[in-house]
């Protein structure tokens, strides 16, 4: 038995099975939850390459699976990703029932997750572009349905993600040629340019970012939340894998300034547009851009601390974006248009809902007492050698703070109605746990984020 079989092939087959059982929503919900939790727990507890003991029988969990001439390799250092992606699936599936996500959400999401895992495992790793494209195409049925017209956001999502693939594959072909002659600087420069363009399309770097807010404004917020919180971390992990696999790229003098500039541009542009945004769904899209910029800044440090910060930031980022997407879904269920004009004084009717929304925004900004605070602070400490970069990043966050303050003022503004709580108890359960999680991570970072990090660090370093 091999690890790729366990974390790629079997989940894909289960997703196909669940696709045919869509009508039995309760069964699909519980099976997917148990299955993903099991996959996450196996990744957490079982070293890859070791022996799995099931009763009297023992099976070796091999690292490699050869499929159609290509190798899929999952090693112990990939266990962090496996734990993260499977538990994030549990996180999203848990809220799918109450947020009334379409029945195809769970099967297709599982298929996407197995394809993304395959994209990280495939060798040569440049083939990951094809697998990601397949994942993007599989995600399209989630975003379109027969009742709604096809929006520009979905089309642009497909266009930009599809344009990335040729660049990455061509870069891979050039790089395979330069292995014979690594001193060919012009070929390496072309490869770096093609890789950069591919990643820019994938991550939605300015000016290729338009699809992100458009997609989030047009689609079901829960589905957009799942896609926009799952795809960028995978792209960033692939970037990290490329950097670790291509020594010349890692040592290139232009890499750090480029990553820093791109990261800062994403934070500033995301922040500025967020400040002038009147639609909460679009605001969510800009939060995703800001989070991706933050992660790029972490990666740009190119040291142990930078990598740790990147991995650590995934958890508060996921929680913040998850809560934001969940509140948007709840607003849709309460038939409240997520436009600022419609939200005047509504905190009197939906206090927990809007406290959760504001908390997730504050966490992304990195305000004290919220989950993002310790991570942002640690990043700024690491960036002390680059004052201009820190200033630009702070400018971006200041604009986002303006957006959050504006929203808060509108929510507590004048309202003719009375204090009547209209929230459903099921919503309160999820939202209170979410707010509690954000606060606990912010107040006791060493206990919660640090504790999780100790587990993940052991996974990343275990051989």
């Amino acid at each position: 038995m091999s690890a790729p079989l366990v974390w790629i092939i079997i989940p894909f087959l289960v997703s196909v099975l669940l696709w045919f059982l869509q009508t039995k929503t309760r069964l699909v919900f519980f099976v997917s939850l148990v299955f993903c939790a099991l996959m996450g727990l196996i990744a957490l507890l079982q070293p890859i390459g070791g022996i799995v003991k099931i009763g009297p029988t023992s099976v070796e969990l091999k690292t490699t699976l050869i499929l159609l001439g290509r190798s899929f390799i999952l090693e112990n250092k990939d266990r962090f990703f496996l734990v993260f992606i499977n538990f994030s699936a549990v996180f999203w599936f848990l809220g799918s029932r109450i947020s009334k996500a379409p029945t195809k959400f769970i099967p297709l999401s599982m298929a996407i997750i197995s394809l993304l895992t395959a994209a990280l495992a495939v060798e040569p790793f440049l083939y990951s572009a094809i697998l990601i494209e397949l994942g993007v195409i599989i995600s399209l049925p989630l975003l379109i349905n027969r009742e709604m017209p096809i929006g520009k956001g979905v089309l642009r999502y497909l266009i930009y993600q599809s344009l990335a693939m040729p660049f990455i594959l061509l870069a891979g072909w050039i790089l395979s040629g330069t292995q014979a002659n690594p001193s060919d600087a012009s070929q390496l420069q072309i490869a770096a340019l093609l890789l950069g363009l591919g990643f820019a399309f994938w991550l939605g770097v300015f000016p290729f970012h338009v699809w992100i807010p458009e997609l989030s404004s047009e689609s079901n917020p829960y589905i957009a939340g799942f896609l926009l919180s799952t795809l960028p971390p995978v792209f960033l992990l692939i970037i990290l894998k490329y950097l670790n696999g291509l020594a010349w790229l890692k040592e290139a003098a232009f890499l750090t300034p480029t990553l820093q500039a791109v990261g800062a541009v994403m934070i500033v542009t995301g922040g500025v547009w967020a400040a002038f945004q009147t639609n909460l769904k679009k605001l969510f899209g800009f939060l995703v851009i800001i989070e991706s910029g933050f992660s790029l800044l972490c990666i740009s440090l190119q040291n142990q601390q930078g990598n740790e910060l990147f991995y650590l930031s995934l958890i508060p980022h996921l929680l913040s974006l998850g809560i934001f997407a969940y509140t948007l879904t709840s607003l849709k269920r309460y038939q409240i248009e997520p436009e600022l004009n419609n939200l005047h004084g509504l905190i009197r009717n939906y206090p927990i809902l809007f406290i959760a929304l504001i908390s997730s925004l504050f966490s992304v900004i990195g305000l004290p007492l919220f989950a993002g605070f310790s991570i942002n602070l640690a990043l700024f400490e690491q960036l002390t050698g680059y004052p201009a970069l820190v200033i630009w990043t702070l400018v971006g966050y200041a604009f986002l703070m303006f957006a959050a303050s504006h929203l808060l003022i509108i929510l507590i503004g004048h309202y003719d109605g009375k204090w009547v709580f209209l929230e459903q108890p099921s919503d309160l359960f999820f939202l209170v746990i979410g707010i509690f999680g954000l606060l606990m991570m912010g107040i006791f970072p060493s206990v919660f984020i640090g504790g999780v990090w100790k587990i993940f660090a052991s996974l990343l370093t275990s051989i």
């Binding site: 159609l68 195409i137 379109i144 096809i150 497909l158 599809s162 040729p166 594959l169 050039i174």
Partner: protein, 193 residues
């Protein structure tokens, strides 16, 4: 051009590109797309085994068929100032051809392909981007993506003969065409309602 015979597929490709960008009729666009793949096949068969080139041709034609299956009964676009739009698109296409002619030599050097393939790749890729930028209806956008992929496949298949990669690229093409077919169904329902 070392091989004068290649003028024929290159001209075929250019005509198909021009047709796709200038014509607004959905049926003719699909036919032009199928002709584009015929031109690509003739160029590819000189550098790739016949079976692999045939796979690409059949995939392209199947994609066209998938998109054509759901053809709307009437032309989708009825635009004002059609002639000026067509002229503008034709002029833009010619500009892309000039650009392709200028840079095809250096591209053929980087990717070690013949200049006619390099020229065709840039012309097709550019036409696909133009289609994506100039047309907003989902059907044409999908056709634009497939055109971009056709240009990319011509280049990539010329340099990489891996069966798995070519197979996966064909699968992606077909999936996009399938999605396009779904879009068409949606579009028809929208138009009817």
């Amino acid at each position: 051009m070392e091989n004068w015979f290649n003028l024929f597929p290159v001209l075929l490709i250019l005509l198909a590109i021009l047709g796709m960008l200038v014509l607004n009729d959905w049926r003719r666009n699909i036919i032009a797309f199928a002709v584009l793949y015929l031109g690509i096949f003739i160029l590819l068969v000189q550098v790739l085994p016949l079976i692999l080139s045939s796979v690409l041709l059949i995939t392209g034609w199947m994609s066209a068929l998938l998109l054509g299956l759901n053809l709307p009964k009437e032309d989708l676009e009825r635009e004002e100032g059609l002639l000026s739009k067509r002229l503008f698109r034709a002029f833009s296409t010619v500009l892309i051809w000039i650009l392709a002619l200028v840079i095809s030599k250096s591209i053929s050097g980087v990717f070690q392909v013949s200049p006619e393939i390099a020229f065709s790749v840039i012309a097709i890729y550019g036409a696909g981007l133009l289609q994506l930028g100039m047309k907003s209806r989902p059907l044409f956008v999908l056709l634009g993506i497939l055109t971009v992929f056709a240009g990319f496949e011509l280049l990539y298949s010329s340099v990489e003969s891996s069966v798995l990669v070519n197979g996966l690229l064909s699968a992606i093409n077909l999936l996009i065409a399938f999605i396009g077919s779904f879009f068409t169904g949606n579009q028809q329902r929208e138009d009817q309602s």
